[in-house]
């Protein structure tokens, strides 16, 4: 299991855009993935408050949802986002790492359905939630 996490971790961190945003995969398996993204000034969306741009949170959600699909026991060989909706509940506190947990809660031969939650240090109230549908590419 540790090997699988290590492999998935390398896979995620080899994605150029995820690496540019500083994402780090911390847990993976059985259709569930956890990815963290440390605070960085270059990700600021609101100059007055220093709050991270929603787009960076979207990228984190998208990567985490994709990782959750890939880790599903039915073992898709690849996946792509069909649609992703993000609800922004509150601003992430500047300076804090954002942690996203995604769950692939249903999968068919062609489509995977995923939910994700993002929090900062205050883990009780989510920063954002996401709902998405992803393609399922099976090994041929």
């Amino acid at each position: 299991m540790a090997d699988k996490t290590q492999l998935a971790r390398q896979f995620i961190e080899a994605i150029p855009h995820s690496r540019a945003l500083g994402m780090e995969l911390t847990e993976i398996g059985e259709g569930r993935a956890v990815i963290v993204m440390p605070y960085d000034k270059k990700l600021i969306g609101d100059p007055e408050t220093g709050v991270i741009h929603g787009g960076a949170v979207s990228a984190l959600m998208d990567t985490c949802c994709g990782a959750a699909v890939m880790s599903h026991p039915s073992a898709p060989s690849s996946t792509a986002t069909i649609d992703l909706r993000i609800d922004y509940m509150r601003a992430a506190t500047p300076g804090q790492t954002i942690r996203t947990t995604a769950t692939c809660h249903h999968i068919t031969r062609n489509v995977a359905f995923v939910r994700a939650v993002a929090t900062d240090d205050e883990t009780e109230t989510p920063v954002a939630t996401a709902n998405g549908a992803f393609t399922v590419e099976l090994k041929s």
């Binding site: 080899a14 994605i15 150029p16 855009h17 995820s18 690496r19 540019a20 945003l21 000034k41 270059k42 990700l43 600021i44 969306g45 609101d46 100059p47 007055e48 991270i52 741009h53 929603g54 787009g55 960076a56 979207s58 990228a59 984190l60 959600m61 998208d62 990567t63 994709g66 690849s78 792509a80 986002t81 069909i82 649609d83 992703l84 909706r85 993000i86 609800d87 922004y88 601003a91």
Partner: protein, 172 residues
Amino acid sequence: MSRPRPEPVQVVKQRRDAALAALVESVPYIGFLGITFERRGDELTSTLHFHDTLIGNPFLPAIHGGATAAFLEVTSVITLQWFHLWPQFESGELDVETMTAGQMPRLPKTIDFTVDYLRSGLPRDSYARATVNRSGRRYASVHVAAWQDHKDKLFAQATGHFLMPQERSSSS
């Protein structure tokens, strides 16, 4: 009754370009992703200049869905703010000089954002235009479409809802 003489073209252009530049440059994430804006009158078109760090699937290769989502969201927020501020800097109520000095009006906040991925983003420049379908005192609804080679072959589109910046004092 005589109409006031129209402003010289250079004055108009300088004011509008300065307002747009101030708006775009105030957001670090826009520079990080490599997005620029072009203006024709009040119409805006954004460009996501392709760069290797935008890649999400190195095997195809294709642009990361998150980079696409961010591009669409940036285009939506800037376009919404642009139309929101337009009457203020055109009338002189908002001084472009103070805007460029870093005193930026507050940006709209994203409430929700739904991205529809139509085809994979190829490793080349992308373009987007946003339409403000409704902008009230508190809420706004924006649609945004992005393309690469052909404007009528979109590779992604999105709809978002935004909370407009509230006046600091609404007592009077």
